[in-house]
Amino acid sequence: MKKQLAEQYEPSWWSKLTQSPYFIYILVSPLFLVLLAYVVYPFYTTFVQSFAGNNKLANYQKFFSLKSTANLEALWNSLYISVISVITCAIVGVAMAFLLERYNFPGRRLLSVLVLIPMALPPLVGVLSFTFLYGESGIFPRALQHLFQLDSVPFSLKGVWGVIVVHTFTMYTYFYLTASAAIKGLDPSLEEAATSLGASRFRVWRKIILPMLTPSIIASSLLVFMVSMASYTAPLMFGVERTMTMQIYLARTNGNLDMAATQSTILSVVSITFLLIMRWYQNRRNYQNLSKGVSVHRSEVTSKPLKYFSVFLSFSGTLILILPILVLVLISFSKDGAWTIQILPTEYTLDHYKALFTDEKTWRPIWNSLKMGFVATIGNIIFGVAAAYAMVRLNFKGKTLLDVLITIPWALPGTVVAVNLIAAFSTESVFTFNQVLIGTFWILPLAYFIRHLPLVFRSTSASLMQLDQSVEEASRSLGAGWWHTFRKIVIPLTLSGILAGTLLAFVQSIGEFVASILLYSTSTIPLSVAIFQKLYAFKFGTACAYGVLQIILILIVLLISEKLSKGSAGSAI
């Protein structure tokens, strides 16, 4: 009877809609649409193109044919370069992590800062400095030649080994970061417990420390493998044509688009397989230590010979790490064309830096990259924040799919992303409002947007996960609507995460080379392509000045991010 007394509350159509269990799918559909248009569809068109021609499988038969083995050789080269890179990176990265986390020696503090320098080097700039230092006409080989009065340089970095050395230098940081985090998380009392139970030092290593590090080592191995497979700049600069990425590049520049599509598809399959293995592995692993606040004891290096040895090691480590930047700075002041067979450049000038900001033609690529990076990053912010919120806070079917689709462009080699975009957008399509994008301003920002999709998404979801949901509920219970809560509570509390991802996406866009080289049009040459062109015109000074500018930009961003992540400690309640 009470029911009849109750005042009838008739919901409007809008609230009926918003309370429907299916309303969530209306909310997340734009996210899926963007991914469909710019990730799935280009991928699909490449896939279709790889089967072009009368004989559907012709391209694949050609790829795997034993008559002309160029492609198989490339696949094999890519695979073994990647495997060796994983091994060398693992050795250097894990050894560095142990050295810096567990031992105390002169120069440790400096080294532990410099150890991350490779992260601050844009790929192209990094390879560039290596060829200046150790290449055939590089500073070191020539210096040795002069010193010992040899007829030719005694050694030089080239070919496959050049690629591997550069990979080791640029990618060991993946191992270093995860291994040092794992070592930091290693509770020293575990080792003490093992020792107290009678285990020898060696046994502690084998039975306690290594098993605890295995998850991080495996995760970084998969990552380094993926990044090596995708590597393009190093093979390009060291002239190793028989790698997958180079083959794609060559097929595309020779106009053999079907073959490029086939190669891209095969490379994508390898990359995506590794991505899925990595995701699977990361979900099932984890012996994270929960005991906090116990700091690891650093052993002091005591014996005299060891001390000298460690000083020598840390000094040479420091030198190796800092030389690439020093050489870039040095050459950026050198006069173009004046450096031929001498060890070091002979004439110096400030002109290149002046030109950066005064000469219209030199300034143009910087301005282009800033503009295109800006556009791409705006897209990354909007998409990344929305996707992170949906992923962390909403509950809907297809969450895993969304996560995988966002991560795929990150796993795909830049070369493949470019080939996909060419396949999809050289003709009009619905997704581009019936415009051809190739050859316009928009294609590069789109490529940057896709390649850096996960950056803002990741950092934002990380800060969202730290934000207790009850804080949002508290706001709602006090009468604030969803939008008000989002603006006044969610955004301010996750701002540091959003900004960190945004800055990273922005610098990455500014330095992007791999997709740019395949997609750029002469009206919008980006910075990285300009560096490449200056190099081939033997304008080393200008190229290096561009490089130094990029490094400065990256260092500023790293500094700000560091500040931000410290400032966010208060929001982690």
Partner: protein, 356 residues
């Protein structure tokens, strides 16, 4: 202040039943507590009243208004969360003023209300402090002030004391009760702590596995439990399975397999119990109902365990193979030792009969 009526509400999470067929009437101004072990559905019920969950079935009314699927921000409720959920990027005053700003009150009026509530919760000079500069107890009071300043129709408290240490918890308990009775706001309090429930509430709802086990005043719940769950969950008790051997007018005689015989009164039958001669029943005897002097239901046994708490002496006594917990108020008499004989009696009015 409003009343809350819950009409046949169920809540499913996938296939798991969180709350099943709940009916409840909370009177305006009442202090009402949901009590139960974790996972019993008490927080789920609270969140349905707050609007963070919508029921799978049934209706929720605030007075006469159907709010079953009304959004939480339209309900005019005040909620205090277990972890307080204070906004870490705002000061104490900004936190408290948040709900008033949402309601678009004039600035001057907001400041006046914030000042008033701040002194009510004894946070007078802390207005400009950041949240992370406050202690746990102070944060708790900010959360309470923030929920109360909007003059909510209903105040919802979700285990608000569970993050405080024992001493502070007791203080804050009195404080919440004082403020609640001063403002007279309808309050729903969720806890798993029976002391909090007993001391603060006008009425208590005991829940287990999504089902209501009993609704009643603290005295009713304690002295007249409806079933074995309530009898054992609230306070300590001796729960014995016994058989009725005779009923003589109001007096019921029961016996267990060890030949242990007791007398009780029929008026102490639980609400739904209809037991007659030969039936098995459970009898609940609170440890504090034992008396050390002689009288009816006299029992004699050997002491198995002694515990001195200061306030009382707790014994575990073996009576013909049946273990009984007895609590004797410490009045200075000598304390017996393990192995000693002891003779106690249980007033028949302290036996309470429960069904299977």
């Amino acid at each position: 202040m409003k009343g809350v009526r819950i009409d046949s509400v169920s809540k499913k999470f996938g296939d798991v039943l969180g709350v099943s067929d709940l009916n409840l009437d909370i009177r305006p101004g009442e202090f009402f507590t949901f009590l139960g072990p974790s996972g019993c559905g008490k927080t789920t019920t609270l969140r349905m009243i707050a609007g963070f969950y919508y029921p799978s079935n049934g209706k929720i009314y605030f007075d006469q208004r159907d709010v079953t699927t009304l959004q939480p921000n339209k309900r005019n409720i005040g909620m205090v969360f277990q972890n307080y959920a204070l906004f870490p990027h705002m000061t104490v005053d900004e936190n408290i003023a948040f709900g008033l700003e949402v309601r678009k009150l004039p600035k001057a009026q907001i400041q006046e209300k914030v000042d008033r509530i701040r002194s009510l919760v004894h946070l007078g000079q802390y207005g400009k402090r950041k949240i992370n500069e406050l202690s746990g107890g102070q944060q708790q009071r900010v959360a309470l002030a923030r929920a109360l300043v909007i003059e909510p129709d209903i105040l919802l408290l979700d285990e608000p004391l569970s993050n405080l240490d024992a001493k502070l918890r007791e203080e804050t308990r009195f404080e919440i009760k004082r403020i609640q009775s001063e403002l007279g706001v309808t309050t729903i309090y969720v806890t798993h702590d029976q002391t909090e429930a007993m001391t603060m509430s006008d009425r208590i709802m005991v829940m287990e596995n999504g089902i209501v086990k009993q609704i009643g005043t603290p005295q009713e719940i304690y002295h007249k439990p409806n079933n074995r769950f309530v009898a054992t969950f609230i306070g300590e008790t001796n729960l014995l399975q016994m058989r009725i051997t005779s009923i003589d007018g109001d007096t019921v005689t029961i016996q267990n397999d060890n030949g242990f015989v007791l007398h009780g009164y029929k008026q102490n039958y639980a609400k739904d119990l209809h037991a007659s001669i030969g039936d098995n029943v459970y009898v609940s005897i609170r440890p504090e109902s034992f008396r050390s002097e002689l009288g009816d239901n006299s029992v004699r046994g050997t002491i198995q365990f002694v515990e001195f708490t200061g306030l009382s002496v707790n014994y575990v006594v073996n009576v013909q193979g049946t273990m009984l917990k007895a609590m004797i108020i410490n009045a200075g008499s000598t304390i017996k030792q393990v192995g000693d004989e002891i003779e106690l009696h249980i007033p028949p009015s302290n036996l309470y009969f429960l069904g299977e």
